[in-house]
């Protein structure tokens, strides 16, 4: 034993466990350019695939001529739907219960849809091959507006669904209708509205945006014709789900399918789905018996793989004259594009949109979401949010502002009057969610104090009184509640697999450890934070804990990383697996110290005999013993697996404040201050939390202030390059101020709630709230995103405020 006696605090510090701002273990390789992404993978004999895509948004394929492409030296194959038909792979099931064309089968339904693939010796030859494939189309009328899609005489988009009056989520009442989904109590809500003295309503569009991760989607598929197994390196946020789907589609036993997600350059929901490119690369590898690489370019990424949002929403609030909200009604028209390929838990075609009663104690509420087909790319993924939570939060936060304006009550005050009170938790919302914990009033006051809110309002009043002021000042305030950590398997599944997650921990004889997880990091820093959880639970320094994810051959089955589920679900699985090990370790320690288990106390990294600090065994001592000479009746070794099925979602919340100054001459909105207070329960690594919040705020800024995917009447996407699509850099990004409160989740083993998506969900309505607030004195209640200079300038002009 060491002569230096360390205090428990010293020992705890040396573990670098929960609560420590431990530096990211991932960064060493990334900042040296040593990451290993899908496109870094090169295999002997590897071929390259490129995709022939439709230039038009709706049309019939009259003829495809591959001859010229096949004549190019180095082109190995050209595949069309006709070639996939015998394998029954020309269509594939989507996560939303619909089917999607892998390669266009007789018809194209959106611009840039996959029509054929060319496999060649190198990427350049593949691209030449794509140009040489001749496709002749008969153009059909295009439907871009989702409202027009439901007109009686609207063109039939999905001829493959002709006569199908029942969809995956109930009856279809129109040929372009996908589903109508409802939650809450319609009659109770109607009754609340009938009795209420004050009613407000607002239409708003949450525009179609794209997650646009820095790394686009791609894969390297390698089928070994001798062994009959398939290994695929893929940009996936859910490798195990991919394995199951690939096995189901290909008929290869799941045990012979290995899916590996290597380093992933950002996902944000874009990498949840299974795309035609993946399927075609896998089929090509099986057909040709050689590895095939496909990596989409930026234009393909923005145009064809998984957009987000595109909700046309009508909100209504009923209230008393002093601003107490009595009822909420919401109607949404959801533009899902050509195929319903949303990535939501199976039972929820509109995701968790019914969190739209927000942080407020509302007596009665009802929402209805109608999904329709249009000639746009499919998707509707959870872009840095738990399924459709951004849309829900945007709706309720905007509506509360609208009500505040109508009643001339300050937006902080109206929130205070309607918040669910601390003592009401656990609180059951009118939509049936059981909120785990929260303390909204404390958080709001902290935020208002931090920015001296009354002083800001006074400054704004002075600016409004000055007709020569060159700027308009707007103050945005949002108090959001998220629902994350999907989810309890009684409610949530994907293709029938419950949305649990898993962890396997092995303690090695010398006291170091490896943990394997069902999730996959895409920038979240799992290798850093997961080790911290184990360090605290088991008293092993996080420096000697390896975290491995993404290889389905080694990791236990998990549903992957999206919807802020890593910490709420996988983080809990880690804690539970560690506690199984801890329980066994206690038995071993009792045996070693020749006392009963009940006589042992756990302290940081050791079991101590109660009342005698000199008699103890560290976890490292126990580990050695477990392999060396375990007590009679105990299995050797020290490891555990846990599959964690969460009893409930978690409900992180936050208060965000934003001050914008709008240039009356140019319409430019300068974000003067942005203050984000987040409460994600127990904080595992404050530095990583802050980084996550900065990232989420920046993406929220992008969505609110600039991102758009404009379509013209012919269905051309007029902004599918980074010249047009706004991706903020350090130049545009405002300075962020972060803060926090801690209200642990009572049902989570660590009390943690998840955080990475809160800043995205919360910041977007905050920017809108701020921009609209700048116009509030002239009666403006809402302006649709994005708040680009031009659009803001148009609003200035329309209200006589432009200089």
């Amino acid at each position: 034993m060491s002569a230096v006696i360390q205090t428990p605090e010293d020992r705890e510090a040396s573990l670098a466990g929960i609560g420590v701002s431990r530096l990211r273990k991932e960064d060493a390789r990334f900042i040296q350019g040593k990451g290993n992404y899908v496109d870094d993978i090169k295999m002997p004999g590897m071929l390259h695939m490129d995709i022939v895509r439709s230039p038009i948004a709706h049309g019939r394929i009259k003829r495809i001529n591959k001859e010229a492409a096949l004549a190019i030296p180095g082109v190995r194959a050209v595949l069309t739907a006709e070639d996939l038909k015998p394998l029954k792979l020309h269509w594939m099931p989507t996560l939303a219960g619909d089917v999607a064309a892998v390669l266009a089968d007789e018809k194209v339904h959106f611009q840039m849809q996959e029509v054929a693939v060319v496999i060649a010796d190198d990427r350049y030859i593949a691209a030449d091959g794509v140009e040489a494939v001749e496709v002749e189309y008969e153009e059909l009328p295009v439907v871009i507006d989702p409202y027009a899609a439901l007109a009686a005489d609207a063109p039939v988009l999905r001829e493959d669904l002709a006569g199908k009056t029942a969809g995956a989520h109930g009856p279809r009442d129109h040929h372009n209708h996908i589903f109508t989904w409802e939650a809450g109590d319609r009659s109770a809500a109607d009754a609340a509205f009938a009795a209420a003295p004050i009613k407000v309503e607002q239409h708003m569009h949450y525009p179609r945006v794209h997650p646009c991760p820095l790394e686009t989607c791609g894969c390297v598929a390698s089928f070994d014709p001798i062994r009959g197994d398939l290994t695929t390196y893929i940009t996936s946020q859910a490798p195990h789900v991919v394995r199951t789907v690939v096995s189901m589609l290909s008929g290869i036993p799941e045990s012979k399918v290995r899916i590996v997600s290597p380093d992933i350059g950002g996902g944000f929901g874009n990498k949840v789905g299974i795309y035609p490119g993946y399927v075609c690369a896998i089929v090509s590898s099986i057909v040709l018996g050689r590895p095939v690489k496909w990596v989409e370019d930026r234009i393909e990424n923005i145009s064809s793989t998984a957009f987000a949002r595109d909700y046309h929403m009508d909100g209504e609030l009923a209230a008393t004259e002093d601003g107490k909200i009595l009822g909420l009604r919401v109607n949404v028209l959801a533009d899902h594009g050509a195929f319903d390929a949303c990535a939501d838990p199976t039972k929820f075609p509109a995701g968790l949109f019914h969190i739209c009663s927000g942080s407020y104690d509302i007596g009665a509420a009802h929402c209805s979401v109608k999904g329709v087909y249009t000639n746009k790319a499919p998707g509707g993924v959870a872009y840095r949010c738990s399924f459709r939570v951004t849309e829900a939060v945007y709706l309720i936060e905007r509506m509360v502002d609208v009500l505040a304006q109508r009643l001339n009550i300050d937006k902080a005050e109206i929130r205070r009057r309607n918040f669910i009170r601390k003592e009401q938790f656990p609180y059951t919302s009118p939509f049936g969610f059981e909120y785990d914990s929260g303390d909204y009033h404390t958080a709001l006051q902290k935020a208002l104090d931090a920015l001296d809110y009354p002083a800001l309002r006074a400054e704004q009043a002075a600016k409004r009184a000055d007709p020569n002021s060159p700027t308009l000042m707007g103050i945005g305030l949002v108090s959001f509640t998220e629902v994350v950590g999907a989810g309890p398997s009684k409610m949530c599944d994907i293709l029938g697999v419950g949305m649990f997650d898993s962890c396997e921990i092995r303690i090695h004889p010398t006291g170091s450890a490896i943990a394997r997880m069902g999730t996959i990091t895409q920038g979240q820093g799992h290798q850093t934070t997961y080790a911290q959880i184990i360090a605290t639970e088991l008293g092993i320094p996080s420096e000697v804990i390896q975290v491995e994810e993404g290889d389905t051959s080694t990791a236990p089955y998990g549903l992957g990383t999206y919807g802020s589920r890593s910490t709420p679900v996988a983080g809990a699985a880690i804690a539970m697996a560690a506690r199984k090990i801890h329980a066994k370790a206690r038995k071993i320690a009792a045996h070693m110290l020749e006392v009963s288990e009940a006589d042992l106390d756990w302290e940081v990294d050791r079991f101590k005999v109660r009342g005698d600090d000199s008699r103890f065994k560290t976890m490292a001592d126990v580990a050695w013993q477990s392999y060396h000479q375990p007590p009679a009746g105990l299995e050797p070794g020290l490891e555990a697996v846990h599959y964690y099925d969460p009893p409930n979602f978690t409900y992180p919340f936050g208060i965000y404040l934003c001050v914008v100054d709008i240039d009356r001459a140019t319409g430019e909105s300068k974000v003067r201050r942005f203050y984000a207070l987040d409460d994600c329960g127990t904080r595992i690594n404050p530095m990583i939390i802050e980084g996550q919040i900065h990232g989420g705020l920046t993406e929220g800024f992008a969505v609110a202030m600039g991102q758009q995917m404009p379509f013209d009447a012919q269905g051309n996407l007029l902004g599918n390059t980074l010249m047009d699509y706004f991706l903020p850099t350090a130049v545009e990004t405002p300075k962020w101020e972060t803060d926090y409160t801690v209200t642990p989740s009572p049902h989570h083993p660590l009390g943690a709630k998840g955080v990475a998506e809160s800043p995205h969900v919360g910041s977007i309505p905050t920017f809108t709230s701020a921009v609209v607030d700048a116009f509030a004195h002239v009666g403006v209640t809402h302006l649709d995103m994005p708040h680009t200079s031009f659009r803001v300038w148009q609003a200035l002009r329309d209200h006589g405020l432009a200089l």
């Binding site: 230039p55 611009q111 013209d712 009447a713 012919q714 269905g715 051309n716 996407l717 007029l718 390059t721």
Partner: protein
């Protein structure tokens, strides 16, 4: 991407001569830089090609031109052109062109053009915002060439003592520019933009 164009161009030639040139689709096409008629399919139907070069990238549109309606009495012709290139763009244009006499001058007329252009695919995606300016510039180039050709025909027919009927004229030497050069397009756009910028201030 849909662009509507309504243009009037005064031409310094007699209406009959301009009309004769307009009716000769090969000669008219030759006035468009980069365009040519490659094959006549029927009385009113032609195959054609347009080549556009933007920096190192070349797009070759191939397609058809159909004369839908032609009225010698009104000097009016209605055409539909449709084409696609292999790089994933397609375009169509419905064009109505008339030659109107100038009441003040027998040796002058006005070319009225009304066109609806629809562009799909990469050209629409990348060039959407430039479509109107580019189209206007292309039409400008076309009209300049058309005017020059019409004048040279007029001069030629005058030289042959006016004995030769307009119908028998042959097209003059081909225009100097054989493809649409994207760099020159960009330059012209910048010049146009600067002109507007300073024009507004003055």
């Amino acid at each position: 991407m849909e662009v509507k164009l309504e243009k009037q161009y005064p031409l310094p030639v007699a209406p009959a001569q301009a009309w004769a040139l307009l009716c000769d689709l090969r000669a008219t096409a030759a006035c468009m830089p980069g365009a040519e008629i490659t094959e006549q399919l029927s009385e009113t139907s032609y195959k054609g090609a347009v080549k556009v070069k933007v920096g190192p990238a070349t797009a070759q549109f191939g397609g058809t031109v159909d004369v839908l309606e032609r009225s010698d009495a009104d000097r009016r012709v209605v055409m539909r052109g449709k084409g696609a290139d292999k790089g994933g763009s397609s375009a169509s244009m419905d064009l109505t062109a008339t030659i109107e006499a100038d009441p003040a001058n027998a040796n002058a007329c006005v070319l009225n053009g009304s066109a609806m252009v629809i562009v799909n695919g990469k050209f629409a995606q990348f060039g959407g915002r430039m479509m109107v300016s580019v189209s206007e510039m292309l039409l400008g180039q076309f009209v300049n060439q058309f005017s020059a050709t019409a004048q040279s025909i007029a001069a030629a027919s005058a030289a042959s003592d006016g004995a030769v009927a307009a119908e028998t004229v042959v097209a003059p030497p081909p225009p100097p520019v054989r493809e649409l050069d994207g760099l020159s397009i960009v330059w012209a756009l910048i010049k146009g933009w600067l002109a507007r910028l300073f024009g507004r201030k003055s």
